[in-house]
């Protein structure tokens, strides 16, 4: 055990209970056990664990699709899959990763488990609605994937389903309908989770937990939840319109009936661009927490971080048409400047992350390595995104591998942060640590694999290779870069296998204790795993890191604009 936690951390002695606020009596929870517990539970931790397992399975499925795609592109005239299968595979790769992994993993799994504990709440505000969210998500996932078992195969119009390619003439078959149905179900699941998170954060904070004492992860989840509520209903409406076009003879997106195909793109991206931040903000929050804990410092520029998150969310609602610069039917300058401006709050975040590490005492645990890897990878993805906000540059990179490389830099950064979060919070959820040695190996495979995978794609895009092509016989010299990218994808695949191996190897092996990382926020004050209603006692909450203040009273948070002496007085008088 001790070799896992190098350098050894001096844990403070367990404080006597009377120092803390008594929150709950020692009520033992009696309920069903075994499989029945998993099916009937309304406990946010158990639901969150179901979400975690399901979404990691989706990551593995989506990743397997990606490996097949990369194998197909390893030669200019790949024959591993047919054109039809290739279209199905990249459609489902994108759909699984975006709809079934990244979102549910962030707000279904980690936020579901961590937000209530971080704010000292016993559960989510609406536990039954929370259970409904999970079952809708699982049903939606199965519905979407079941397209593979229909006669026409799964949906094959890309994860963006542009009309009129997605209408019943161009894409007949049940696979497309199952895709729409599955997406509707997971969309409702996301909306319900958004409602639940908002209500939980607004109404169930513990005494003393003011808005500006919430951990950054909780802040980001609040903003994410608000974005979900603004964006997902639009997608739901669009999907219903699409279904009506396919089956009930409406002509919303078809020219023949007086409809407008580009309307679908407006609706889709009005959801789709906030969705980018719905995916990203939770992972920003995870990385922020990890960077602070393993630097042994508070989050640098905490309030600036919150305002940056809020302005990203606000701007994200006005940039959707930068996905449509090449349609020729949108106002270029407006969407260009709005998109460019997002670089500002994002830059603030990156500088705040560096400021958090600055003059810290950085402990390179697996979680910290993942978080640093996230910052570097996200920096690359962010900088290449700035090009795409400029219409003339977008004209020549749009729908080429440059765009694919850009958003894979971004999403692979999110995967790094998410993996870091599993190493960081996993012990809190399960009570057991993961093996650090395998973890570090996994990090290097994932980090190097990501760069080897994306860099050739940037060059390929600039050389003119379009996305979503199954063959490229006209330019066989692209083979080398494609092979390099495929090799990177294999490294990423190995890292995923290492993660699964790590979970198997570490299974109930390294007991974690309540606070193995000397962490700062409220979830580390309770036991690992937390009891049924999360807390037996709570510390005084006088800053955004009550556990740290409790364990290190001499190094407690100074708070904004207060001198240490002043602050000390305030606390002792309270």
């Amino acid at each position: 055990m001790t070799d896992l936690l190098d350098p050894p951390v001096q844990l403070p002695p367990v404080p006597p209970a009377h120092e803390a606020i008594e929150e709950h009596g020692h009520d033992e929870h009696h309920g069903p056990t075994g499989i029945l517990k998993w099916i009937t539970t309304t406990d946010h931790k158990v639901i969150g664990l179901s979400y975690t397992i399901t979404s990691v399975i989706m990551l593995v499925i989506g990743g397997a699709f990606a490996e097949i795609l990369r194998a197909q592109l390893a030669t200019p005239n790949g024959t591993l899959v047919s054109f039809a299968q290739y279209n199905e595979l990249f459609t489902m790769h994108g759909s699984v990763m975006i709809y079934l992994f990244a979102g549910p993993f962030a707000f279904g799994a980690l936020a579901n488990i961590m937000v209530p504990i971080q704010i000292g709440a016993p559960d989510m505000a609406f536990p039954r609605l929370n259970a409904l969210s999970y079952w809708l998500y699982l049903t939606g996932a199965i519905t979407m994937l079941s397209g593979f078992f229909t006669a026409g195969g799964a949906a094959n119009f890309g994860w963006v389903a542009y009309a009129p390619l997605s209408n019943s003439v161009n894409t007949p078959g049940a696979g497309a309908d199952l895709w729409i149905g599955g997406l509707l179900l997971t969309g409702f699941s996301a909306i319900f989770t958004g409602v639940n998170l908002c209500a939980t954060i607004f109404y169930l904070r513990a005494p003393g937990m003011t808005m500006f004492r919430m951990p950054i992860f909780t802040w980001n989840m609040l903003v994410t939840a608000i974005l979900i509520l603004l964006a997902f209903p639009v997608l739901t409406a669009g999907l219903i319109m699409l279904y009506c076009d396919r089956h009930f003879g409406t002509h919303i997106f078809s020219v023949q009936g007086g409809g407008v195909p580009v309307l679908w793109q407006h609706i889709f991206w009005f959801w789709g661009h906030p969705e980018v931040y719905i995916l990203a903000l939770p992972f920003f929050g995870m990385a922020t927490e990890i960077l602070a804990v393993f630097s042994r410092k508070p989050v640098f520029g905490y309030k600036g971080m919150v305002f940056a998150t809020l302005s990203i969310a606000a701007l994200s609602l006005g940039v959707w048409a930068h996905h449509m610069f090449t349609t020729g039917v949108v106002l270029l300058p407006f969407f260009s400047i709005m998109s460019l401006l997002i670089a500002v709050p994002t830059g603030i975040k990156i500088f705040n992350w560096i400021g958090t590490m600055w003059r810290g005492e950085i402990w390179f645990s697996t979680a910290m390595l993942m978080a640093i890897g996230f910052v570097v990878t996200f920096l690359i993805g962010g900088l290449t995104g700035i090009y795409l906000a400029s219409p003339p540059l977008d004209f020549f990179t749009h729908d080429t591998y440059f765009v694919v490389a850009h958003f894979h830099s971004v999403v692979m950064a999110l995967v790094l942060a998410g993996m870091g979060a599993l190493y960081y919070w996993g012990p809190k959820i399960t009570g057991y640590l993961l093996n650090e040695r395998i973890g570090k190996l996994q990090f290097w495979f994932l980090f190097i694999g990501t760069q080897v995978f994306t860099f050739p794609l940037y060059i390929l895009g600039l050389e003119g290779m379009p996305r979503r092509v199954a063959v490229y016989p006209h330019d066989p010299q692209w083979k080398f870069l494609n092979d390099l990218s495929t090799f990177g994808a294999v490294l990423i695949g190995v890292s995923t296998i290492l993660f699964v191996v790590n979970v198997a190897v570490s299974w109930k092996r390294y007991p974690a204790g309540d606070n193995p990382w000397d962490a700062q926020t409220l979830e580390w004050f309770t036991t690992s795993p937390p009891p049924h209603h999360n807390f037996y006692r709570l510390p005084q909450i006088r800053s955004e890191r009550p556990t740290w203040d409790y364990n290190h009273p001499e190094h407690r948070s100074l708070g904004h604009g207060t001198h240490p002496e002043e602050h000390h007085d305030e606390v002792s008088s309270s």
């Binding site: 890309g158 542009y162 003059r359 920096l379 979503r468």
Partner: protein, 286 residues
């Protein structure tokens, strides 16, 4: 005992500073600006049209900024990671705010962003301008091929998948394009022009391109359009203006035109036997 009038001390210092600044910053920058070839290409290329070249220069300036800023941030991360690794069980100073610094990294990016936006606007306005032109080409995209017609003449080119069409256009002349689609959304993309535009059903997308170099360039559909999206290629042949006029004239000979039409038709039927095209040949007439 008159002391000679010395120039004020501050001015010399300022002048010396300015000279040093000019040497260290201004001169290399000027050299960089004068000799365009010293700026690295950052993976893109200048291309073969007027706007592709200005887009390429925009690309270069964006890339210089990206490399400078990205390199600076990477160095900061690297320094933090190497310098502040945990050595003992010390708790560092719990500093959390530095308002001037935070303001600096808010304001400076805003200024950079507006600079980038200004540069974007200049190039964008040049690229999307619609000057009067003598040559017009109608481009029609369909699953999975292209039809190029030349209004006012008898000339046309079409082909699909395994028999890809070759569009002909004159060099050194503004050519007006009307881009349409017969079925789903396609992407008209010519790498040598550093340009792409969607072909939308029900919409006529217009743009102007002036080719600067003769040659044959590859083009491809970039927007997923169904089964044979991967094979929806075409070529752009940029020829001298006299060659262009001669090429147009070949279609005026009725015999030649009929032969060309027949050849195109056979080609179409042949390929449709290989590739099961959706719809029928009447698709063009829509």
């Amino acid at each position: 005992m008159q002391t000679p009038a010395l120039p004020p001390q501050g001015a010399t210092v300022r002048a010396r500073r300015w000279r040093r600044l000019r040497r260290t910053v201004a001169l290399p920058l000027a050299a960089l600006a004068l000799s365009g070839c010293t700026v690295p290409s950052f993976g893109a290329s200048a291309g073969a049209s007027t706007s592709s070249k200005s887009v390429f220069h925009l690309w270069q300036w964006f890339s210089i900024l990206a490399v400078v800023i990205g390199g600076f941030v990477c160095l900061l991360i690297l320094y933090a990671v190497l310098r502040y690794r945990r050595k003992g069980d010390n708790i560092p100073k719990q500093s959390q705010y530095h308002i001037p610094l935070e303001l600096a990294y808010t304001v400076v990016p805003i200024l950079i962003v507006f600079g980038l936006f200004a540069a974007t606007l200049v190039v964008e306005n040049k690229e999307t301008a619609n000057p009067t032109t003598n040559v017009t080409i109608n481009v029609n995209a369909f699953q999975w091929g292209w039809k190029f017609t030349y209004p006012g003449t008898n000339a046309f080119v079409y082909g699909q998948t395994t028999q890809n069409p070759e569009m002909v256009m004159p060099v050194g002349e503004n050519v007006h394009f009307n881009l349409t689609s017969s079925d789903v959304i396609h992407g008209f993309y010519v790498k040598a022009f550093n340009f792409s535009r969607y072909a939308l059903p029900g919409v006529k997308n217009e743009f102007t391109i002036m080719a600067q170099n003769t040659g044959t360039y590859f083009g491809q559909c970039t927007q997923l359009c169904g089964l044979y999206h991967s094979l929806m290629w075409f070529r752009v042949k940029v020829v001298s203006q006299s060659e262009y006029a001669a090429w147009i004239a070949t279609f005026n000979n009725p015999a030649d035109a009929a032969a060309a039409k027949a050849a195109a038709k056979t080609t179409y039927q042949q390929t449709s036997a290989i590739v099961p095209a959706k719809g029928s040949t009447t698709k063009f007439g829509r």
